[in-house]
């Protein structure tokens, strides 16, 4: 009897132990291993170590596509951060496609939330989340525990404005660039152009080697089309292409790829056609009708002549045309040109199954630009000869992107979370770690400046992927120009690339950002409802139709404008105007 009672007790204790284990949080917030270290100032009074004992902060994060799983606990950069801050970051990660659903489900249920999580601010109504206690308002916390961010906001009002909605800061910035260097623009095959000019098959308006006006672009695309189709043609351009396939003069797998031409007409395709003209918010389709019509007619003319991708509008991923030597022009981010020029024949070309013979590696043009050159924004002239835009520049994201780090309402120690984010984002130590990795392995100091080692620059899979695997890129960081310049190969660039980069910085006077991304208030969300989405549906249909020729600009445009107005463009524009006023406030 006694033995039986003992057995029952033992089973009960075991069951309770199993239950207790099962009830523990999946990602525990724990304090362990006391350490004692003298505190030092990491910047603006942020004292490190941030915690007296090793403390864990939990985070929910999305993985880089094809990159390392962030839930793996082996990131050298984060280990180095841990040594300085005494804070361990325990991350739970999911693929970028699953992440949004998982985060939304947890936020809805207010269940199993980590201390902090990353999100795209455009997808969430922060004010509603904060009023329900799901996330924290950060004003007080930032004022007390993020001195570096406070200093940065004091220096740049637009940073504070972009983070603030109705006087409340709901989230910490994700990534900020210290200066503008990555813009969306057109790139073209310089080697083809050079060969065509040498064979007298192409001549630009200024007799130079780069297209300057829309007419130059027409001539260049026409030459690509004409001589690309001639088997065994006379030019080196044909030889470079191997006369295998027909050329797609302007590759357009995505609808936004026409952005590089739209800017010449003062239009902003990438910002859902919202622009600012003389400080006022305008909707291109209704407020800049002359410019829009001219752009559409030009594009339709190119399409009819076979100069644009015949599959425009289908959103089929045919970027392989670039690797396969079939595309003459593409619209991409600045960094892509050097990326393609250095990686296409070797890494990417081989990875895609192409042989080096098919993608020639040598270049006689200059030491850097093997194939692709970045293009200046073209000048588009009206019938009277005056340009649509006096000095067309470039477009890119605002210095602060739309990624935000949010502190959940259930965070165990919100002040510590904010201090940790401030260390990564605002201190010199944090910025150096996030940008350059580990000293000695990833970079060395030359004249006091970090210079990447070959371990990074010649890493298999590319330097950006290497640094991401070290623990950079997804966490809050200020991306430094010098880091990007080194990784993109701009440092020491010669020839056309160097000239272009100089011009790019000069032309930043004409640069404009995509419409700033500012969280909507609940009231604004209610006002916009489905209007913005309906309008986007409408104009995307007409855009493709006008360019492909199923709609006629002269006869169908007025009908489109009346439909856009009926769909509620005035309401959407009012909300955008209010947002822009907040963003630009001093």
């Amino acid at each position: 009897m006694y033995r039986k009672t003992l057995s029952i007790l033992a089973v009960l204790v075991l069951a309770l132990a199993v239950l207790a284990t099962g009830c523990q949080s999946a990602t525990p917030t724990a304090t362990v291993a006391p350490t004692s270290a003298a505190k030092t100032d990491a910047g603006n009074g942020l004292m490190v170590p941030l915690a007296d004992t090793l403390t864990t902060i939990t985070a929910l994060i999305s993985n880089n596509e094809g990159g390392k799983d962030w839930s793996k606990d082996d990131f050298p950069i984060l280990d180095a951060v841990q040594k300085i801050t005494n804070v361990k970051l325990a991350m739970e990660s999911y693929s970028s496609t699953a992440y949004g659903q998982i985060l939304s489900a947890r936020l809805s249920a207010k269940y199993n939330l980590p201390d902090m999580f990353v999100c795209d601010q455009r997808s969430y109504d922060f004010s509603s989340l904060q009023s329900s206690g799901t996330i924290q308002a950060l004003n007080t916390l930032i004022a007390a525990d993020a001195p570096n961010l406070v200093a940065m906001m004091a220096k740049d009002a637009s940073l504070k404005n972009a983070l603030t909605t109705n006087s409340i800061i709901y989230a910490f910035p994700g990534q900020l660039r210290d200066q503008q260097f990555d813009v969306l623009l057109n790139m073209y095959r310089q080697d083809w152009v050079d060969a065509l000019i040498a064979a007298n098959d192409l001549k630009f308006s200024d007799s130079g080697s780069a297209p300057k006006t829309i007419d130059d672009w027409t001539a260049m695309l026409t030459a690509f089309k004409t001589y690309g189709d001639v088997a065994g043609g006379p030019t080196a351009y044909n030889k470079a292409n191997g006369n295998v396939d027909k050329i797609i003069p302007f590759e357009l797998w995505h609808m936004n790829k026409l952005n590089g031409i739209a800017v010449s007409y003062g239009l902003s395709e990438q910002s859902d056609w919202f622009s600012t003209v003389n400080g006022a918010v305008v909707y291109d389709w209704t407020d800049q009708q002359d410019n829009m019509k001219a752009f559409l007619k030009q594009m339709n003319s190119w399409y009819k002549s076979g100069l644009l991708d015949p599959q425009y509008g289908l959103n089929l991923d045919i970027e392989s045309y670039v690797y396969d030597n079939r595309a003459g022009v593409d619209c991409e981010w600045t960094g892509y040109a050097s990326y393609w020029n250095t990686n296409t024949p070797n890494a990417m070309g081989v990875a895609k199954g192409y042989t080096n013979e098919k993608v020639p590696t040598d270049s006689t043009h200059d030491t850097y630009t093997q194939h692709w050159s970045l293009a200046q924004a073209a000048i588009a002239n009206k019938a009277d000869g005056t340009p649509y835009v006096a000095a067309p520049g470039y477009e890119g994201y605002p210095l602060l992107n739309y990624v935000r780090w949010v502190v959940s309402g259930t965070a165990k120690d919100p002040a510590l979370v904010v201090k940790y984010l401030d260390f990564l984002f605002g201190t010199k130590q944090g910025q150096t770690l996030m940008n350059y990795g580990i000293q000695g392995t990833d970079y060395t100091l030359v004249d006091g400046k970090p210079v990447f080692t070959d371990t990074v620059l010649k890493a298999t899979g590319g330097a950006f992927a290497y640094l991401a695997a070290e623990g950079s890129s997804r966490l809050p960081m200020v991306q430094l120009y010098d880091q990007n310049a080194q990784l993109s190969g701009w440092n020491g660039a010669t020839g056309r690339m160097a000239t272009f980069l100089t011009q790019l910085q000069t032309n930043l006077k004409a640069f404009r950002v995509f419409f700033p991304s500012i969280p909507y208030t609940s009231d604004q969300v209610a006002q916009i409802g489905t209007k913005a989405s309906d309008i986007n549906t409408l104009v995307s249909t007409y855009l493709v139709g006008f360019i492909r020729g199923t709609y006629n600009v002269d006869t169908d445009y007025a009908s489109l404008v009346s439909q856009i107005k009926a769909a509620g463009i005035d309401t959407v524009k009012n909300v955008k105007t209010t947002q822009y006023a907040v963003y630009t406030a001093g």
Partner: protein, 320 residues
Amino acid sequence: MDPKATLLPGMNRRGISGFFKKQYRMFSRNLYLWILVLPGIAFVAIFYYIPMIGISVAFTDYKIGLGFFQAPFVGLQWFGQFFQSIFFWRLLRNTALLGFYAVLFGFPFPVFFALLLNEMKGKIFKRTIQSVSYLPHFISTVIIIGMTVTFLQPGSGILWVIVNFFTPTSATLLADPKWFRPIYIITDIWQTFGWNSIMFLAALSSVDPQLYESSRMDGANRWQQVWSITLPSILPTVLTLLILRMGSIVDVGFEKAYLLGNPATYETSDVISTYVYRTGILNGNFSFATAVGLFNSAINIVFLFIANTLSKKFNETSLW
């Protein structure tokens, strides 16, 4: 007044206790049958009935973090917003037409296929054809669309070449709104006709062979046998499946319309489910998305009732 009229079915004069006793006796007598059916009941309850609580979202201003029952009640606001949308009639037309064409052309096809297969003599050939016809059913919609896009590639796609032979065109068929519905329906039939014919083949196998024997003795040819014996024999099965199919006539598959459609073809390809995804889910308008989804289901139920009533009236075959 008959006192029995106030009693529930199964009740007798002994009242409530007698009723429960009788139910209990029935339950314990069929205990193993209940255990057998329990997983099915649990599945339906958990995955079909409990989630219906979420329908309440259609009548509230739901926001992530508020929960189902804390969101403020807004009545029919989201339904009104959908009915006033500039795309309402287009979405309704596209959804209804795709569903209607799928039934009109897609439903008879497996019946004909089953009849043809039933008339075949060679067993090996018959089974090979049957297996090959099932295969597309096991290919995911994404792959089907990928194949369709490749087949319709201008200049090189095999279907493009065939179409171009009869109607010379340099256009991309996938970007032409006129071609969306034919492409959708044809690929739908190709993917489903083999699998959908299984039920009809099963019904055909249950037809009494003596009927055919008698008809042959009376001098009936193959065509007369099909018309007078086979078709009437499988008609109840056909009608039952047709009624069930009508219950989802506007339940146009999201993946296919989404993957096959593009801005150039929205005029014909944008259906309620793709609109809900684009406008509701992607933009976080969950209440709006739920309201539109509920509206879609309501239309399906109306069609189900109409089909069932017509079938009951003319053929005495119905679901209830």
